[in-house]
Amino acid sequence: MNPTENTLDQAVEEGLERLTQERITRTVNQVLEKETGARFTAYVETCMRCGLCADACSFFLSNDRDPNRMPAGKVKQTVWEMLEKKGRVSKDFLRRAVRIAHLECNVCRRCSMYCPFGIDIAYMMLLVRRIIHKLEITPLYIQDTVNSHSATLNQMWVKEDEWIDTLQWQEEDAREEFEDLRIPLDKPGADIMYSVIAPEPKFQAGLIYQAAVIMHAAGMNWTMPSRPGWDNSNMAMFTGDNEISGRIARAFYETAADLNVRRIVMGECGHAFRSVYDVGNRWDAWAMPPFEVVHALEFYHELLTQGRITITEKYGKKVTLHDPCNVSRGRGLHDMAREVVGMTCSDFVEMTPNREHNYCCGAGGGVINCGPPYKGERMVNNRVKAEQLRDTGAQVLIAPCHNCHSGLEDIVHHYELNMEVKFLGDIIYETMEKRVYTPGV
Amino acid sequence: MGEIRMKTCLTAMLVVLAFCFGTAGAQELIRMDTYAFDSTRRPAAVFDHDIHNEAAELDDCAVCHHVWENGTLVEDESSEDSPCSECHGVNPTQENEMALANAFHTKCRSCHIDKGAGPILCGQCHRKMQGGE
């Protein structure tokens, strides 16, 4: 069953059929009354309906300024109406709400910077997703990733032996470059626990290879966990399944605690960073993460500035940099990213707007995870991003985030932009000197 | 768009303004003497002493032309021979905190409120200057 304008995927449609009006009303009211407080009330009551958030939203801009897709417009079509009708909303309304909250919002928080009052509209969209989750009408593909998280503690049904096997396979391959390279599993007391998202062992194992080479060359005392808890991704965070989301983050921190590491370094992923740095910890009652969590971008910066990694020859092609929401707006790493690019590439061109004001890749916030059924509409919704990319005239697009990476690949193909999408790690791996760092040399 | 609407609105206002400034008054109004003030914000208050007192049935000068000494009102003494500004400075002073304009406002308005008659709103006394004035 393919989605059309009036239907969504199987999981949503079958879910809607199961619902009774009584359950809809009860669930909506339960979430809006019991799971919110003054913060939510203030957001609803402070909004002056000025429409200034519109310019922030890439969905609005990509669809010829369609008011249905502006941030406050999305709130009007979901939250305001739920409040006005005291939860007595129809199934058609809910179907529209699923589309708005899951497919037409990246929860990128750009609109908070365009609202003069700083109203957090992403928070309200996540509340809608929470209601959708509780009504069991979450889109099929993203729900499947949550099911996987729930059963395996990783996002992609990776089995424990497959995980270990993949790491050993990458270690073996990398030994052709460095004969004594190891991917140390479960090494207690290591300085660093390196963690990745499940798509890496599943179909991008080369990234683990590259990371191992960088770690080895930099002479780091590092380890990777063999047991569940290795995956730092968290799709439950985006479906409003806060309980599973909290479980994932908790297992992750506990793994690091059991290994007694000093800090956690993670691969180039944005949403995973948001989970373990900002969101997952909160459900587990940690105001801030219990470990120092270092995004790859920050880690590369450290290695390069400390001279643990040296660049033989800078990357020569014309590159541009996409600021992933969750590490720029989400962690302020955008300037550091530019420094890393400056240290590794010789021809850099900015895309505008940038830094905190970047446009989301259009895939983030779980949108791409709703899967192939919605790829067509996602491409339409990403037009403004495509135009932004095209305007740079760059040959290579650096995107230090997995979600962005996949989304931008789709955009590049769909809009025939003729760009290569790369991780920062790809660039570093290509340009670094392949020798092991020894202090003082 | 918004600008067009604003222009229409401004034009409407200008028309209203032109109307109100363009109306010429026919009869001359008797107003208070404001020589004590260096400059005035509003047109002098419209006040015809005799008509006022007749309408208000006022015979006792001291009701308005009072005499205060050491913070108390002196009974049976009046001050119609000296200007108000002799005691009430344009600005409040140590000796007399009641400045001249405030004295007028307080005196007139409180009485009009008490008696339930006479003007008490700004523009009812400080009437706009007519064309001929």
Partner: protein, 219 residues
């Protein structure tokens, strides 16, 4: 009639200010109380520094990027909000009344300048109304309530303007001016006008989340 006018210029002013300030105070208390009992996490992230940093950045005209993208709207909005406070508080006619009641006064605006600012306020309101009627994304969000709010602000300024120029029905214009001004004050805590305090709170929290947790700017 004098007794009625005296009432609306005297006790009713007290009542209005009491409801206005008391209402806002109570609202603020309720919000803080509810946050304390239900969303204590807010205080884990809220800092004075990041709150004031964000509020400050948004108070500087055309400092935030978003405001530079809408120069006409923000220009009108900045002047409108400023005039909304400055005109009533520093109008000579208002100060005279305060002086009469309490024998305290402060410097007043030049009357012609205040008059000009009033025209600016009225023009801004016309502009805001026009936006609501014409600009698609604003029209989409607009309900009758939004026009009502604009109207509630318009009346005291429009009647004040007409009364100052003594155009017609002076006494009734003044009565309408006083009553509508008091109505506006009274309605503030019970309407979205309360954004005059809640906006600072939402901005403070977002500013703190951005600055304190995410090490990023929100302007």
């Amino acid at each position: 009639m004098n007794a009625f006018i005296d009432f609306i210029m005297g006790p009713m002013v007290w009542i209005s200010f009491l409801i206005f300030l008391g209402g806002l105070g109570y609202k603020l208390y309720r919000i803080i109380h509810e946050v304390r009992t239900k969303e204590g996490y807010v205080f884990s992230y809220l800092t004075w520094y990041h709150s004031l940093r964000s509020i400050g950045a948004w108070l500087i005209p055309f400092y935030p990027r978003a405001t530079r993208q809408q120069p006409f709207f923000y220009g009108a909005s900045y002047i409108f909000h400023l005039a909304l406070f400055v005109v009533p508080l520093f109008l000579s006619a208002h100060i005279v009344l305060v002086e009469e009641a309490f024998n305290v006064s402060w410097p007043a605006l030049n009357d012609t300048f205040a008059d000009l600012l009033t025209v600016v306020i009225i023009a801004s309101l016309a502009f805001f109304t026009g936006r609501r009627l014409i600009q698609p994304e604003v029209k989409f969000l607009t309900t009758a309530q939004d026009f009502a709010l604009l109207f509630i602000v318009l009346i005291p300024f429009l009647t004040g303007f007409l009364a100052y120029h003594q155009v017609f029905a002076y006494q009734w214009m003044m009565i309408l001016h006083i009553l509508s001004g008091e109505f506006m004050l009274i309605i503030i805590p019970f309407s979205r006008f309360s954004h005059m305090i809640t906006a600072a709170l939402t901005r403070a929290y977002t500013g703190s989340e951005f600055g304190n947790v995410r090490h990023a700017r929100d302007w």
